[in-house]
């Protein structure tokens, strides 16, 4: 799928494939192709170096962008899925289990999106239900018992807004996770890989380290939702996206995240393998670093990190970082 803002690139790429498709294989043609390729690459590099927030949203939601299953295959050498919240069901929108990254063993939890409509219906488009958040909490508590770090992959439009979800306590489930994750005595590494949608994202997002892929977004409300409330016009989503400061760069500056994992040129969906490498390297390093901290220090560091956000020093707002 091509994104709207990549139109000019797409045209050049079509030109190139026409040239390549030509039967004659003379030197002139080859050099034309090479030139074009270089041009496309440099255009793409430029385009992606300077994405608007709204363009970033589109990249973050790109249907070919890696989803949790892809990361499990590409980043982790083993994954043993563990099912169920031990009370009601086994949510498909949030999954988890034992996983190995290099030589490090962790408890992996994350939002599960699909790639086809069918898959997406099965996993609810990555929108967690209360049983999903409760399963995640159960697994985090198990990680605590087994002294395993928690790695959390965030990619959700938000917690599922349904009748049953409300009846079974969507609010309670998220609130409980925020409360319990604050005191978890093992390292927690969080990575926003795509959409970091509001409370549904934060519900598994209280980490010692919070990272983002360079074209991921993380927001209190979807740009569309914000536009329709504050602009009274859903089509003003681009304006809202810009105003909300939802890109990795902006969030790093605000101190909300601790690091950015650079995506390959053209976005993670253009080169899964390179994305997995970068993710694997960064998470491994973070785990190695956090492993050296005592349980008490981990809790204290995580607590202070969130205490700093929106802090008022001497009663004046203070951006930390």
């Amino acid at each position: 799928m091509d994104l709207e803002f990549e139109k000019s690139l797409v045209e050049l790429e079509q030109q190139m494939s026409e040239l390549e498709g030509g039967s004659d294989n003379n030197q002139q043609l080859n050099s034309q192709v090479t030139q074009l390729k270089r041009k496309i690459n440099s255009m793409r590099k430029k385009l992606y170096a300077d994405l608007t927030p709204w363009q970033t949203v589109q990249v973050a939601r790109h249907p070919e962008r890696p989803v949790l299953r892809d990361y499990i295959e590409g980043v982790f050498s083993e994954f043993i899925e563990l099912h169920g919240d031990r009370a009601f069901g086994d949510d498909k929108g949030i999954i988890g289990g034992f996983a190995s990254i290099g030589r490090q063993r962790v408890m992996l939890i994350g939002h599960q999106k699909g790639k086809t409509t069918e898959e997406n219906i099965a996993c609810n488009f990555g929108m967690g239900n209360p049983d999903g958040y409760r399963k995640a909490l159960r697994l985090m508590k198990l990680a605590e018992k087994y002294n395993l770090p928690v790695v959390s992959f965030i990619d959700t439009p938000g917690a599922y807004p349904g009748l049953e979800a409300e009846a079974r306590g969507q609010a309670e489930a998220i609130a409980r996770n925020l409360t319990e994750m604050a005191r978890l005595e093992v390292p927690v590494v969080v990575l926003v890989t795509g959409e970091g949608g509001s409370g549904g994202a934060l519900g598994i997002g209280v980490g010692n380290v919070v990272l983002m892929l360079s074209h991921a977004v993380y927001s209190v409300i979807s740009p569309e939702g914000c536009a329709s409330i504050l602009w009274r016009d859903g089509s003003k989503a681009p304006e809202a996206a810009a105003a909300l400061k939802i890109t990795a760069d902006a969030l790093l500056e605000l101190g909300v995240i601790d690091g950015i994992i650079e995506e390959p040129v053209g976005g993670a969906h253009r080169d899964h393998a390179a994305t997995f490498d970068a993710v694997k390297t960064e998470i491994s390093q973070q785990l190695a670093r956090l492993k050296k901290m005592s349980a008490r220090r981990l809790v204290e560091q995580r607590f202070k990190k969130f205490a700093m956000l929106g802090k008022f020093d001497n009663r004046k707002y203070a951006v930390h970082r």
């Binding site: 807004p161 349904g162 969507q170 609130a175 209190v220 995580r302 956000l309």
Partner: protein
């Protein structure tokens, strides 16, 4: 109850002597409405209160000591929307309400017992949770922790404040982290949900009380009714997301009438044995 009596005089000067109950449309004498603490004598609808009104119903006279009154909305994003800069909007709100943030916090006595109180005010940008709100809750919880005092929050909020973006969202984690420390140290934390308690506030500190209390018929829920109806494409039950519905589904311990709230809280707190 000083506040309610003081207010009466002002009311009488106005020409319109009647209040129309927003819930059952009953016409009630304003004086009666005030005397009933803004609760409808017909249908028991509990009207939203300003934080100062609520405080008057809770704190022993002259016992309230406000915390962090000077914390005002920050504008970390330099946010502007169709109506202009958030900073201006916030400033106007502050001036209009003579209130600096969406929550009032402080220490006080309730029937002689020291507690720490947080009272949200829906009039302040829909009682939205923003950096200032979160910080005030955090600092109040910290005070409760250090002084081993029970902490009570009255919620009234539409959710996180969009104008402070992700920093508003982070207040959910920040406030819950503060509550988590109270849990660890065995300090009581009681949540009282008033109309409305929704979105990010319901999904953070409002839902994790040792005891979750609600005022009758208060709207309590995570997602908005319209969003849910659009998602599931069916009509929702009438009592959906009411305090009563929440209690039936296991999330509210007790529904307490406004007039009995102070005594109820005091009765409950007697069950905490300080170590």
């Amino acid at each position: 109850m000083g506040w309610f009596t003081r207010k009466k005089a002002a009311v009488e000067e106005k020409p319109d002597l009647w209040t129309v109950c927003p819930a059952c449309k009953a016409h009630v004498y304003k004086e009666e409405w005030q005397a009933a603490l803004k609760v409808c004598p017909q249908c028991n609808y509990h009207e939203r209160l300003a934080c100062t009104e609520r405080l008057a119903l809770l704190a022993d006279e002259d016992s309230f000591m406000e915390f962090d009154a000077d914390i005002r909305p920050a504008d970390p994003l330099k946010f502007s929307d169709a109506k202009g800069p958030y900073a201006d909007k916030a400033q106007q709100t502050v001036e209009k309400l003579k209130l600096n943030e969406s929550i009032l916090t402080g220490g006080c006595k309730m029937n002689g017992r020291s507690v720490v109180l947080g009272i949200m005010d829906f009039r302040f940008l829909g009682g939205s949770l923003a950096s200032g709100t979160g910080e005030k809750i955090f600092l109040a919880a910290d005070y409760a922790l250090r002084h081993k005092l029970p902490f009570i929050i009255f919620s009234a909020s539409g959710g996180a404040r969009m104008h402070e973006g992700i920093l508003s969202l982070m207040q959910m984690a920040k406030t819950c982290a503060a509550i988590a420390r109270l849990n660890e140290d065995g300090i009581p934390y009681i949540s009282v949900m008033t109309d409305p308690t929704t979105g990010g506030v319901s999904a953070s500190f409002a839902m994790v009380g040792d005891i979750n209390i609600a005022e009758p018929k208060a709207l309590i829920g995570f997602a908005g009714r319209r969003v849910i109806e659009q998602t599931i494409k069916q009509k929702l039950p009438d009592d959906f997301q009411t305090a009563e519905y929440l209690q039936e589904h296991g999330f509210v311990d007790h529904i307490v009438n406004r007039a009995e709230m102070k005594d109820f809280l005091c009765r409950v707190l007697r069950y905490w044995k300080e170590n």
